[in-house]
Structures are given as structure tokens and as C-alpha cells.
Subunit: 197 residues, 2 copies
DNA sequence: GCTGGCTTTTGACAAAAGTCAAAAAACTAT
DNA sequence: ATAGTTTTTTGACTTTTGTCAAAAGCCAGC
């Protein structure tokens, strides 16, 4: 009988993949061998502006945000991410160019970290792993498209109501200031919207 | 000596792929066998709201837009696409769910059309084709992320100046009304921005 | 060269959201 | 519990962008 691979912290990541296309144990072992599980404190910067991102993270436990600073130095959050999501500065990780955004933990986090060279090796050594990678990228691509469309087509209030409905846990774990910024509105406007109804 | 594959209309599509990861002739043949080259007139709808998108297009010649209707029935363009770009309603094509947006040609177009079932077959039959598919998806994903960030961080005027600088050809081929809509502003606002400087 | 559409511009006004400053409320750590 | 920090709310005012309506400009086809 085949020996059972010890998955531990990788359980959820592999579930994610297996739901797309069952991953061979060989690939799972290679993923484990080519990544590491790290713990980082709240408010740790995982990436800063002008650095080149060379790591993709999977959030086992915790929360993080991606944000940039505008011309006046004000922070704007573009993503807020939780358990079982990938944490990546898309532009810098894919292109290798210096980042225009920051990645910062919002809570104490447990993460799986994979370096780009290792990931590239995995993709080259296991061609069928690209099937999973493609599907996952398609999913994140779609999520972005939806986000961009909502920024265009919905008013501040509608975006708030949408988020509240679809992601109520967010409001338990993240300050309204961060949420306002993620919604693309000022904190004061969010406060007024919430009072209204 | 190996027989030279006749590429014809597929030349540019294959160049795109070859720049990512050289495609075997076997795959190229399969792509040709599983797609078709079509001509469509200006203002043709390739996808309408509530239809399920089952085709991805590569633009050989021409231009097209993707847009949705807001609550008041006003059109908003989310993408304007030209030669050598992929034309797809990301949400509907990836999920198979009914579309919330339209795809419409802006000019007479020559397109390569691939049905989803055929594309899925190609991905399953040629695992290394997923390598190319993944990279291409990553590229489009990145482009979306940039678009969403610009919608957040730049003012109407800055978005206009950016677009003018990076995509001047757009202004030759597409009406200002369509461009304003793509920039997420009203036609009148665009007109005023243009007058200013 | 004129006619009948589109497209673009202009003006007056309205709406949505932002800014600044201060108060109130909610947490945190000692 | 309390002092100190951070977060959230409130009020007054400003800025940006949108809306509506009309005029002007442009272009295709007869």
C-alpha cells in the first residue's frame, strides 16, 4: 500500500489544487521540498515599493493587505486577503520589475512561501502542474475583472453593500479605515454610508 | 526535411505563443484543426448579456470592445481591443455562467475563433500547452490589475494622459465617446479635459 | 453641394465624494 | 481602572465629475 504523504500545513493548499486537477504525490512532495512554512508578526511588510517581488505566499492562517501610496502619500488598499488565498504582488512577481505596491500582514500570519525560481522549476519539471496553475490564474484573473467592473459601475454605497453581503467576515477582522480604502472611498464617506441605513 | 506548416492567418497568434514557449508543430496543427478564421462586420455583437460565452477570439485584423449596460441603460466600455489581442468575456468564458457584458466589433474584423470545448481538449491533450496558456493568462491578469489600480489611483485627467501616451493609436481609430466610457468618465468631462491642455 | 445622421463641444447646474478639523468612542497596556 | 493611542463619527465646506440641453462640427451618400 502506498505510503501516505504527510501533508500537515499543506492540506488546504493541496485541497485547492486537487479540486482543480488531482495533483500527483510526486508533485506534492516537490512543492513541499521547494517551499517553506513561515510565521510572521502582524504589520510585517512582506514587500515594499521598489523591491522586486520574488515570493508568492499562500495564507494558511491570518490576513494581509496589498496597498500603494498615492502622490500625497495616502495609503490605498487594493486587496485584503485571508486564509486559503494566494498573496502576491501580481505586477512585480510576474514581471520581475520593481514593485509599486506594498504587501503587509494585518494579523499574525502563517504562510507557505514559494520563491519564483522554485515555482518556475516546478512548472518546467511537471508540465501538468501548469494545468493547475493556469486554472488558478484564470480564477484570480476573473476576480480582478469583477473588481475592476465594480469600481466602474457601482457607487460607493453599492460597493459597500456588495462587500458587506459577500464578505461579512471582513468587517469583523479589519478596521473600517482599511475597508474604506479597499472600497476606494474615504473613511468619512464610509462612515456616512453606514449611518444612512 | 520536415514539411513546413502553412501558417497563413495563424502567423501572429503562433508568434505570440512562440515568444512564451516554442509550440510544437503538432500543437499548431491541432490549434488550426480546432479553430476557425471568421470575418465579421462592424458593429456585430459576438456576445450579449445573458448568453453564455463559449468562444475565445484572437483578433487578426480589426477592433472590438467589451461593455456593459448600467442600471440606467448607459453603456460603459471595459476594454477596447485591437490586432494580436485576445477577445474574451473573462467571467462568462471561464465560468460558463451567463454574461453580464457584451462583446461588439468596432470595425470589420478578421478573427480566429476557438470554442471552449476545443480549447479544453487542447489543454488536456497537450499538457505543455498549459504552460503557454498559464503565461498568457498571467499577462492578461497583470494587465487587469494595472487597469484596476489606475481606476483607483488616478484622476480622470491623469487616466486620459496615461492612455494618450501609451496608446495613441486608440485615438485615431475609436470615437471619443467610446474612449471616455473606457476611461470611466462622461464624454463631456473628456471633452473638457482635452480642451484644458 | 446639400441633407441627415453621428460626434463633439459648451454652458448652467446638480450630485457624489473628498478634505480638514475636531469630538467621540473603542481599544491597549500598564 | 486609567492614561494613552487608535479608530470612528460629525460638521462645514470644497472639489471633481456628472447630467441635461442645446449648439456646433463633421462626414457619408445622394
Amino acid at each position: 500500500m502506498a505510503e501516505q504523504l504527510f501533508l500537515g500545513d499543506y492540506q488546504n493548499l493541496f485541497n485547492l489544487f486537487d479540486n482543480i486537477y488531482p495533483l500527483k504525490d510526486e508533485i506534492k512532495s516537490a512543492i513541499i521540498a521547494n517551499s517553506e512554512v513561515i510565521e510572521v508578526a502582524k504589520k510585517t511588510k512582506l514587500l515594499s515599493v521598489d523591491e522586486r517581488s520574488n515570493t508568492i505566499y499562500f495564507i494558511i492562517k491570518g490576513a494581509a493587505r496589498i496597498f500603494y501610496l498615492d502622490k500625497e502619500g495616502k495609503e490605498t488598499n487594493t486587496w485584503i486577503l485571508f486564509e486559503n488565498q494566494l498573496l502576491i504582488s501580481v505586477y512585480s512577481f510576474y514581471t520581475g520589475n520593481p514593485s509599486f505596491e506594498y504587501i503587509e500582514t494585518l494579523e499574525h500570519c502563517q504562510l507557505i512561501a514559494v520563491k519564483r525560481e522554485k515555482l518556475d522549476e516546478l512548472y518546467l519539471n511537471f508540465m501538468e502542474f501548469n494545468f493547475s496553475g493556469r486554472k488558478l490564474t484564470e480564477f484570480y484573473h476573473m476576480r480582478n475583472e469583477i473588481q475592476a467592473n465594480e469600481l466602474r459601475m457601482l457607487s460607493a454605497k453599492e460597493r459597500y453593500q456588495n462587500l458587506l453581503e459577500r464578505n461579512p467576515q471582513l468587517f469583523q477582522r479589519v478596521s473600517l479605515g482599511h475597508i474604506a480604502s479597499y472600497l476606494g472611498i474615504s473613511q468619512e464617506t464610509l462612515s456616512r454610508i453606514r449611518k444612512q441605513k
